[in-house]
Amino acid sequence: MPSLTRKEVEEIALLARLHMDEAALARMESELGAILEHFSSIAAVDTTDIPPMTHAVPIELPLRVDVAFPSLDAADALRAVPKRDGDLIVVPAIIAGSGE
């Protein structure tokens, strides 16, 4: 497994939307590097034909009957919103193309 570069740390921080100052990024680089180094042992484990275990217990997806229940009151739904305009949530302008 390749070691972690500073550029990668910055890319990951952006992907994860985490602002960190220079010192924090430097610390992250060395800490993550050490952790990944420690975990490099897993590469050597033979896992051929072992299905990944995505759930702790083997169960099937339960299905919900299609019945609509009363929604939260808009007042309850919006009580914790830091910035709103009436019943709408307000955010800084979305730059076209920053998401889907």
Partner: protein
Amino acid sequence: MSGVELWSIADITRRIAAGEVTAAKILTDTIARITERDGELGAYLATDFEGAQTAAALVDAMRSANLPLGPLAGVPIALKDMIVTKGVVTTAGSKILDGWSPPYNATVVERLRAAGAVIVGKVNCDEFGMGSSTENSAYKKTRNPWDATRVPGGSSGGSSAAVAAGLCTASLGTDTGGSIRQPAAFCGVVGLKPTYGRVSRWGIVAFASSLDQVGPIARSVADAALVLQAISGHDPLDSTSLAQPVPQFSESIAAGVTGLKVGLPKEYFAGEIDPEIRAALDNTVAALKEKGAEIIEVSLPHTELALPAYYIVAPAEASSNLARYDGIRYGTRADASDLLDLYCKTRGAGFGPEVKRRIMLGTYALRSGYYDAYYKKAQQIRALIKRDFDAAFETVDVLLTPTTPAPAFAFESKATPLDMYLGDIFTLACNLAGLPGMSVPCGLTKNRLPIGAQLLGKPLDEATLIRTGAVIESALAIGAPP
């Protein structure tokens, strides 16, 4: 310390039912004790004495009206702050949720209320359950009731400290990689992580969804069994909740261990373990043997891979679960003029260093091109670890290991994150395999620090943990902290 604060659940419910004491009186004494002691201990993040008084008054009114009382009627209970409580601030120990008052209750909260429990407040934890000392709480330091210079463990440190110090009768913790069992061991109380899916996760702030479980922390195995009983069972609001019958756990308390096959996984005794813990485990083995258990050495060959597998799977899921904290719909929001800035600054300021570290680690592991080498590989190793357990449980009924390699450590004594992670080696595999696990006090060090014995059971076999734990508890009782 004497009186109400150390009564068992059975004591409380029996005396209330008999009219010897009221729920209101028990609550008043508990509040007094919290007021007196919590400034020093630092267990509670928020109290809801008003809500508690209403609940206690209801119990007393029902008692007066000769109505049937619930199994936890009048029992003061504290909830880890990872558990969502309607109208009572829930922060998960994070600044990013500072002041958040949820519009709904977790299923476990509803079930405790239905059982007559009196919920007194929310207790401290490592931010989003990430940590082993509760030092990662954004709010306060919680001390170990046995030694105030030491950590209570984590992440359910507030839960175990409050229970050990008598600031509630029992509490709920959450356990993703040992967060119930390790602090229970550090604080000398019983902590039980149920089988994955036994207890609903609806309303539990998610850390790692495929590993998280809620469970009781209590002063006795019997109390833990009663609380577990109240919160267990299928919940249609959680797609991973098991639709399996829940046995009467209390019936296992007095079942004894005659003929029970107790496995000692050799890998858990091979590494660096504090000699006093080793000795306490020897005593535990001797006690079980004496009570009629058969001790068998077994092997779980992939044990050493649990740590890397866990520290890939859990951060990966956490990086996803914590994406929602962006300051848009709830929580704190940073000042920013554009959207990208809003996300980065809100999250940069709202999360503490350990949470950021895990989000970074998890984001790294899920990136395209790295997924197979990290996340997928870790999930395959997880399958190997599960196979080890399946094989072991073909010959034994329950596994016995130390809960931790060392007793409670001093504040700020772990030099690096990795040092902290290494303390979790005995508790992680249980979550990866989805098994029930319990920590029971089994001795004290010469410095009077509690030592925990960990029991791991077959899926859905909490009953055997309770049965075995009760025997250990009666043979090796450690008493209450000073």
